[in-house]
């Protein structure tokens, strides 16, 4: 069980680096969606007794993270007629290096945390920390609104991955709350992106600089 789990999380960690190195928006969105699908499969691997609850959580995650959100983002990109190149604020090579360093640091940090024996041999905690860090790098290091949203979602993926530690012990409420709110967040962000586009004729957040002190 642990080997499959670690394989999947390892893949997700690789996708983090891919997202950091992508220079085109559609590929960042695709990377993020692939990561979402992998995360959606995790509950099936972690929970040995396959029940309808676990199945439902997995299905909902795959549909939301792998399908609905990427579709929304692609639509926002199309309607807003966005230039497909990603403009970096932190360059691709520096952000890749940061991401790689962050991944190593995440593995090291997870070693020093007190984990239950069942969790100590898995990559859940390092994977979560690495994704959160990657999300932050994208959030801070990219200029386009959509790539910032992708950064936010990769960070959310990391937090969701961390939640896997608790999936057997906490009620479904926490799980469904995460999905529901994620939809809400992206839905609203999507609308706003649309509005920014109409108001500024661009999705370049560097132009959002009237309000500063």
């Amino acid at each position: 069980m642990n080997q499959t789990l670690n394989l999947l999380i390892g893949l997700a960690m690789g996708l983090n680096l891919l997202a950091l190195g992508s220079s085109r928006l559609p590929s960042i969105i695709r990377t993020m969606a692939a990561q979402g699908v992998i995360l959606g499969l995790l509950p099936l691997v972690i929970e040995p007794a396959f029940g309808w609850r676990v199945g439902l959580v997995a299905l909902a995650t795959v549909v939301m993270k792998g399908l609905a959100i990427p579709t929304l983002l692609r639509r926002a990109m199309r309607t807003a007629n966005i230039d497909r190149e990603v403009e970096p604020f932190i360059g691709f090579v520096p952000s890749l290096l940061l991401g790689a360093f962050g991944t190593i640091a995440a593995v090291a940090a997870a070693r020093s945390l007190p984990l239950l024996p069942a969790h100590a041999s898995t990559l859940v905690v390092p994977g979560a920390l690495a994704s959160i860090l990657t999300g932050f790098i994208l959030l801070v290091g990219r200029v386009k609104a959509i790539s910032q949203v992708c950064g936010f979602l990769i960070m959310e993926n990391g937090i969701y991955l961390f939640g896997m530690l608790l999936i057997t012990s906490t009620p479904l409420l926490v799980e469904s709350g995460i999905l529901l709110d994620l939809v809400g967040a992206v839905f609203v962000i999507g609308i706003i992106v649309d509005r920014i586009q109409r108001a500024f004729d661009s999705l370049d957040t560097r132009k959002l600089t009237v309000l500063r002190e």
Binding site: L113, P114, L115, L116, I132, L139, A145, Q148, F152, M155, E156, I159, F162, G163, L165, L166, T168, S169, T170, P171, L173, V174, G177, I178, L180, D181, G184, A185, V188, I189, I192, R195, I196, A199, F200, T205, L208, V210, L211, E213
Partner: protein, 481 residues
Amino acid sequence: MKELLLVFAPLAGALLAVIWPSERTRPWLLPVFAAGHTFLVFWMLVDPPAVSPTAWLAFDPLARSVLPAVSLLFLACSVYGVSYLRIRTERPNRVFVAALLAILGLLSAGHQARHLGLLWITTEAVTLAAVPLLHFNGTPRAFEATWKYLLIGGTGIGLSLLGSFCLGYASLRGGGSGDLTFAALAAQGVALSRPWVLIAWVLLLVGYGTKMGLAPMHTWKPDAYGEAPGIVGAILAGGVTTVAFTAILRVRAVVDAAGAGAMAGRTLLAIGLFSMIVAALLLLATRDFKRMLAYSSVEHMGILVIGAGFGPAGTWAALFHVWSNSLTKGSLFLSAGNIRRAAGARTVDEVSGMTAVTPRSATIFVAGMFAVTACPPFGPFFSELRILRAAIGTGHGVAATLLLGGLLLVFFGLTRLVFAIVDGRPRPGAARLEGKRVRETAGVILPPLILLGFSLWLGLATPPVLRDAWTAAVRQLFPAS
């Protein structure tokens, strides 16, 4: 039963607002539902219901000590809202009214949430519900402010979720059964895994601190308060930030039970003093009187967490300050909204002489300014005095000095701006000089005036029932003392 009604009645009102056909009569839903809410909440304040220790949502002593203030503020804002939306008929108000009512319901849920997950879900939902309110004005600047609010607020919410998970894991690692109610977590006490508790505390403080607008996570605040209508600013500054503060208090009680209370107190003190100093310096620099209110809010959030850092006595004073800050800030935001509409501008370079244009609003604004800078005999003076006494009582002389210094700087910053706006000659841009009549109707004058009256009343004669409520809340948060 009543505690659920507090949540679901306003949510039903929000649904009703969505399907209500008439633009003209829809705003009246606000005061109707708000009045019902206030009535119910004050009934529960006087006659508190029994709380089952395992309940996920209950009107417990902590909810009882702050939710009535939020309800009262919302009622005043909703009355103001009817007149405000009548002035702003050019904007459709369906989403605005629905979002306001939804916020009332979600705030009631957030204040009463006794479960880590439920608390997080309600705070996130409040954040999302506030989005349509922020860009009600529809200007590019309003969208920019909303974008920043979403990005910073979203990240803050993500971190508080991560913090909640860490606290959950602390319980699991300590042999917990997966019951994430605050009562169950606190009952585990020192069995909670300490490193995870510390990580959770940092993440939750940063996450909910972002929602509160503590420096250095305050950057969304001046933009959002500056661009949103005054009524929205009042509800955000007096209601939404309060729910984040009670969240921090609830988590703090768990950290306390886990034996890390001294560390939690120190971090609260540090972040509070930092917020206060940052806000004071920004107040000395800004030239915009709506952004000024935002910095003043950052300052008062700082004072709240400073108070919470001084143990039981300080927390009692902080709960008092929640009341005096919510009511006073509401009065300031609403009167500032009136002034801004009449002046057509927001910076001291463009606005002056408002006593001649809007005499009543300007008077309330000046009185509110004195109240919020803690001049006697208004509420904030007495609550801040209590915080200072708690500081000296717990031997935090340096912190008390810094607090006083910060208050003094804030006083300079606020008086400088407020008098520049109300004194002097009206500028050519002001409405009256362009031939338009500025009507200060009862609907836009009475709500801020009444809020100011409550602030005065709190200072002169704090009702015993409130003192009891705060004492009960402190007993809930510090069961050992």
